[in-house]
Every structure is written in structure tokens, then in C-alpha cells.
Amino acid sequence: MTSHFLFQAVIYLLAAVVAVPVAKRFGLGSVLGYLIAGVVIGPSLFNLVGQVEDVQHFAEFGVVMMLFVVGLELRPSLLWRLRGPILGTGSAQVILTAAAASGVALISGQTWPVAVTIGLTLAMSSTAIVIQSLAERNVLNTRGGQACFSVLLFQDIAVIPILALLPWLARANGSQISQPTGHSHESALAHFPPWAQSLITLGAVVAVVIVAHYFLRYVFRYVAAAKLRELFTAVALLVVAGVAYMMQLVGLSAALGTFIAGVVLAESEYRHQLEADVEPFKGLLLGLFFIAVGAGLNLSLVLAQPGLIAALTIGLIGLKFVILLGIGSAFRLGWGSSFLFACALAQGGEFCFVLLGMAGQQGLVSSDTAGPLSAAIALSMALTPLMLILNDRVIQPRFAKLKAEREHDAVESHDHPVILAGFGRFGHIIGRLLENSGFGVTVLDNDPDQVELLGRFGMKAFYGDASRADLLASAGAAKAKLFVCAIDSEEKSLEVIDLVQQEFPHLRILARAVSRSHAYELIKRGVMDFRRDTLGSAVDLGADILRALGYRAHRALRTVQTFKCYEEESVRELAKHYGGDQSAYISIARQHIQNLESLLREDMKRQHLDNEDAWDTAGPKS
């Protein structure tokens, strides 16, 4: 291991460790943090790292892993349901953007094959930045998020025919191929006739599906039986790397291949283990990838032609934004989702660099053209997190308000007024209570056994993940009044609540809080109707204990009721201090609890009528 390698590792890791938490704290998201870190250590500023391209190629494996993880979270059934959006919004985005960008290129004097090349290139968006940013916001499963994902997936697939198209465009342009192509996307099957190539390619995909679906579970079981944690991680990485390699051999995108493998494995019982194992590698490599994109930003070029590059960047973003917004409304995403869709995808992507590189090799795009274009693409990628922040803070709140106002006029719904997410130990009590009280409840749970059980008792139940907008919509979220979240996982619960607030702002949310910190997160989201799931039963048992210690029943009950009131108040009060400095929080909390305790003692005396002087406790004065 050379000291040069270690130096590089230290620089990259240090940049990430310093920049990302700062960016997160300022609410900018991790992607922007990585990008800024990249710019700082890159050749344009401090030049602490050498060849960025090598690192970038290596880090592209992070994108591959990301699609594997995305695939793992997508069941085939959901993917099948997304086929419409993928083909519809996806093709519309690529074709319209390519046409518009080509048009601009033609007007600015390029020949038509060059213009088409540039158009197709600029149609691409950044899968890495978009998915990472949307996942960080918990909006991947919203309608807007799913639309983004559909388009990105379509682009991923579209890259393959576009790459195949480039040599043909080059011939049409009469360009000279400047150098033999050595790019990773070049297929090892070049010497086969085209029909055999297609057949082998198709065979490879089918092989991935069959192996992943039928055989990998035996491999996983065998390896898991060895009870070596790192061995399972090795197998998980082997699957990703193996599929990626195979796809590259047959000329498919590695990311697409691993995505397919991920989708197939989404139904496997090893899904969570795989996800957990791949996740940290994915995160680090993706971070590295973003740093590399940041470092690759050629600031000197930007400074040399600031006007041109600014115009290109703004033009690129503006053009894509307008087209995306149009597609969003044409496909009836609703304005809120359309703006998310447009803000998220209005940039160039990593595929642009690949395509520009290929086009350069084919002699299609000169370096004079490619340089400013690359800079504009990189800048547009760097601006994406900012666009999304703008969307979060300025655009979406307007729609939320607009929607909320409109809902007041809504007609009385005769569908079930309550949607209940989670029908486990907590939720089923609520479900039965409401049902017995004569209220219609639509129950969502992702445990099929539980759902089946419910069905036998005649309750309308949906099997599935409440964090999916389409499932909520089909559960009647548009007409319901209340959304009850009784999910036991904090993370999932918040994800679902974020989704409901975003997609169905008219629903009043009542939630089960699993812990104090969960309660704080709920308060942060404005969900004040929550109950901590253990508080009620703990104080109930507490009352029984007080009775066993000699309290009268009524006094015991009063005691715990008073205590509970103070607990509830304390959580709401302390929530104001949560999330900042931990030690400050602890000292405030301690102070607060002390104050509460003395107040509580006073109040209890009063509740027990201990302050009253009217009782005969003391007896005669004499």
C-alpha cells in the first residue's frame, strides 16, 4: 500500500467527514456536501488529488450498487405497476428533451447528427444525485418520486440504444473516428452477428433473473450457515459485482443489470440482510462518486467563459424544467408532484459524460463543444440539490396551503373515514375499537397473514406498504378524514407520515409514538395527536402497583392520571429543545423534569384533596 494511496484516502475521507455534516446541518443534504467537498479538493481549487477520472470510474460502482439497493426495495409487482409511467413519462421526457435540445443545437449552427447527439446526451439526468436526494427526503415513494424514478429507469435503458446509435450518427456526419474505442460500454460480443448479439444479451438478462430467483437462495443459505458475518457481505458484493461484470460483457448497463437482480431478490427472505450489507459500501462509493463529480468541475473553464457556461447551464436547466413540468401536468401528477418531478430531474447526469466521451471518440463532438457542455452539465448537477431545497422551502409549501384550502369545500365522503396503517399488537386494538363503534376503517398492513386474518373477520384490509402513495390512494385516502399510524417501526412510521402529509394534506394524522425521540419527530412534523404506545399501559400497571402498595383505587388512578398529564406536557415541552446540542438538551431536560416533579407533587396533593382543610383528619384542636 503506497503512501500516495493512503494520502488520497485521507483526503477523500476527510473531505467527506468535514463537508457532509456541515451541509446536512445547514439543511443542504449530503449530495451537495459531497459535491462541495469535491470542488474544494479538486484541481480547480486546492488540487489535493490527482487523476479524478480513475476515482470516478471506480466510484461509478456506487451508482451500480445504488440501483441494486433500489431494486431490492421494489417488488416485481410494483415495478410491473410502474410500467406505464416508465414507458410513458420516460419516453416522453427523453424524446421531448432530446428534440428540444437538438433544435437549439441546430439553430446554433451544428450539423444535424451532432445536434441529435447533443440532444440525446442532454436528455439524460443524474440517477445518483436524484435518487440519493429523494431518498434523503423520504419522497421516493410519493407520486412525484415514483415519476422521477420511472424516468431515470427509462433513461438507464435508453442509454444502450443511444450508444449503439452514435457510430451510425458519426457515419452520417462523415466524421473521422479519432481513436479506437476502449470504453467500458463497448460489448465483448462485437464479433458476433447482430441477431446473435441480441440473443446473447437477452439470454444474459434471463440468466440473471433465473439465477437470482431460483439459485441464489441456496447460496445465501449455505453461506449464512457458516455464521460468518463478513462472508455474507462478501457474497452480497459478489452478486453485485458479478452481475455488473456480466452485463458489461454483453454490452448492457451494469446499473440496469444489478437493478434487475435487485428486483428479483426483493422477494427473497435474504432481502434485508443483503440491503444491510451492501448499504454502507453503496453509501461510501456514492459519496466518492459525488466528490469525483465535484472535483471534475472545471472551474478554470467556467471562469474563462463565464457567460457562455452560465447561459448553457441556465438554458439546460430551464429547458428540462419546462418540459418536465409539461410532462408532469400532461400525466396528471398534480402540481405539487409535478414541481418535485421537474426540480429533481432538470439536470444533466453521469451518463452525459459517458455519451459525450463516446461522441468525442467518434469524432462527433469536438472538444471545443464538449468542454463547455461538460461544465454546464456538472454545474447543473451541482445545482440540483439547491433546486430541490428551493422546491422544499418555497414551492411545495404553497401547494400544501392551496390543497388544504381546497379540501375544506369537499363533499362528505361515504367511503371509510379512517385509514389505519399497521395492524399489529397496537393497531388491531384500534381497529377493533373503531369497528365496534360503528366506524368504517380501511386497514393497511404489510403482514400478509394479518391481512388474511382480518379478511376472515370481514374487515376491509389491504396487504401492502403504507409508504406507497398508490396504495394509500387506492385505500381511499383522498376521501378519508383521519389517518391513523400504528406502525411499530419509527422509521417506517415517519416515512409514511411524511408521505401522507405530502400527498394527502387534508388527512388529520393520529399516530402511535414508539419512543420519546419518535414523539419529538412527530412534533417536528406538526403531528400533535400522538400517544406513546407504552405510556398508557405502563401507568395502568403503575396504578395497580400503587393499589398493591395500599393506595385506594381512586387515589391510585388520580395519581397516574396526573403523572400522565405531566408526561405528555413534558414531551411536548422538551421537543422544542430536541435535535440540537445533546448536552444542552440533557441539562434542559433534567431541569425541566425537576420543575415538573415539584409541580406534580403540588398537583397531586390537590387531586387527592390533601390541601382541603374540611376533612376530619386532624381531629379536634384542643
Binding site: R552, A553, H554, H608, L609, D616, G619, P620
Partner: protein, 175 residues
């Protein structure tokens, strides 16, 4: 022999000497059911059927409680509200309690002379007890001469025990 149901309501028994002593004096009598409402229903969720069944099983009903704001503690009122149902205790079909006897057994903080027209409380005990009397009447029960202990905070311990004994004798006489 009459069976006696004592419905007892005290929200702060841990502060009481007299009611505790009265309770001790009667609760072990055979033929007496001592029913401690605040202990049974601390959350005010009264089981109506069980309470009505108890009433049917007894010929004499006693409401024992401190005379709280010229009336009964809240849970006793709640008991009246939900147990003395139309069709059970009153109304054309409500004859379940007809012929039973009802006794109010009360303790007050104020002395007897305060419960006079020229006293601090401006009304006599019997006047203030009109709602209890009429409730009993509407349910077809005989409202007995109330058992009242005034100014209980002035009682010494021996006096309390003697008073509790008098209460026991009153109950025994009803059986």
C-alpha cells in the same frame, strides 16, 4: 330478615377518620353488603347491570357518604345517573325498587346549628336532602330518617368509635 346494601362514596378516604370508622363498624356484618364505589369504579365506569342486580338482592339501600357541597361526592351522583335507569327504577315499567327502604348516612363538617334557617347554611338538613328524598320517592322507596353525624372534625377518637357503634346499631335495626 332484610338484607342491607351500603353504597359508600368517599373520594379521599385516606383523609377520613369518621367514615373509615363507620365502614369498619358495619362491613363485616352478615346480611350487609358493603359496596365501596370509589374503590370499585375509580375511573367512573360503573357496571350498570351488576349494580342493578345488587339492588334487587337487597331490601334496604344505604347511601353512605360525606355531605359534600350539600350533596354527595361526584361518583355517587354518577351512580344515580346511570344505575337508576328509566324502566328499572322509575317510569311505567320501572318498579324494580318499589317497597325498598332507603337510608342516607351522612357526615358533615358543620355543626347541627349551622343547618338551621338562621344558621350559616340557611337550610335544614331535611331541606337540603330533598333531592335524595325525592329520588327515593320516585323510585317507590321509603326514605328513612337520615343518620347524620355533624361536625365530625370535633370528634375525639373515643367519640368516633362510639358514633360508629351507633351507626352499626342503626344498620342492625334495619335488618
Amino acid at each position: 330478615m332484610n338484607r342491607v346494601l351500603i353504597l359508600f362514596a368517599h373520594p379521599a378516604l385516606h383523609r377520613s377518620r369518621m367514615n373509615a370508622a363507620m365502614m369498619g363498624a358495619v362491613q363485616d356484618l352478615s346480611g350487609v353488603t358493603f359496596h365501596d364505589l370509589y374503590e370499585e369504579y375509580p375511573d367512573y365506569h360503573i357496571e350498570v347491570d351488576a349494580e342493578q342486580k345488587l339492588l334487587l338482592e337487597h331490601e334496604v339501600i344505604v347511601w353512605q357518604h360525606p355531605f359534600y357541597w350539600y350533596s354527595a361526592p361526584a361518583l355517587m351522583k354518577e351512580w344515580q345517573d346511570v344505575v337508576l335507569e328509566h324502566g328499572f327504577a322509575y317510569g311505567d315499567e320501572g318498579k324494580a325498587l318499589h317497597g325498598k327502604k332507603l337510608l342516607s348516612a351522612l357526615t358533615t363538617g358543620g355543626p347541627e346549628e349551622a343547618y338551621q334557617h338562621d344558621g350559616q347554611n340557611r337550610f335544614t338538613m331535611r331541606e337540603l336532602l330533598a333531592p335524595f328524598d325525592q329520588t327515593s320517592h320516585l323510585c317507590g322507596m321509603t326514605y328513612l330518617e337520615p343518620f347524620i353525624l355533624h361536625a365530625v372534625n370535633r370528634y375525639t377518637q373515643p367519640e368516633i368509635e362510639a358514633a360508629a357503634q351507633r351507626y352499626r346499631e342503626r344498620i342492625l335495626a334495619l335488618m
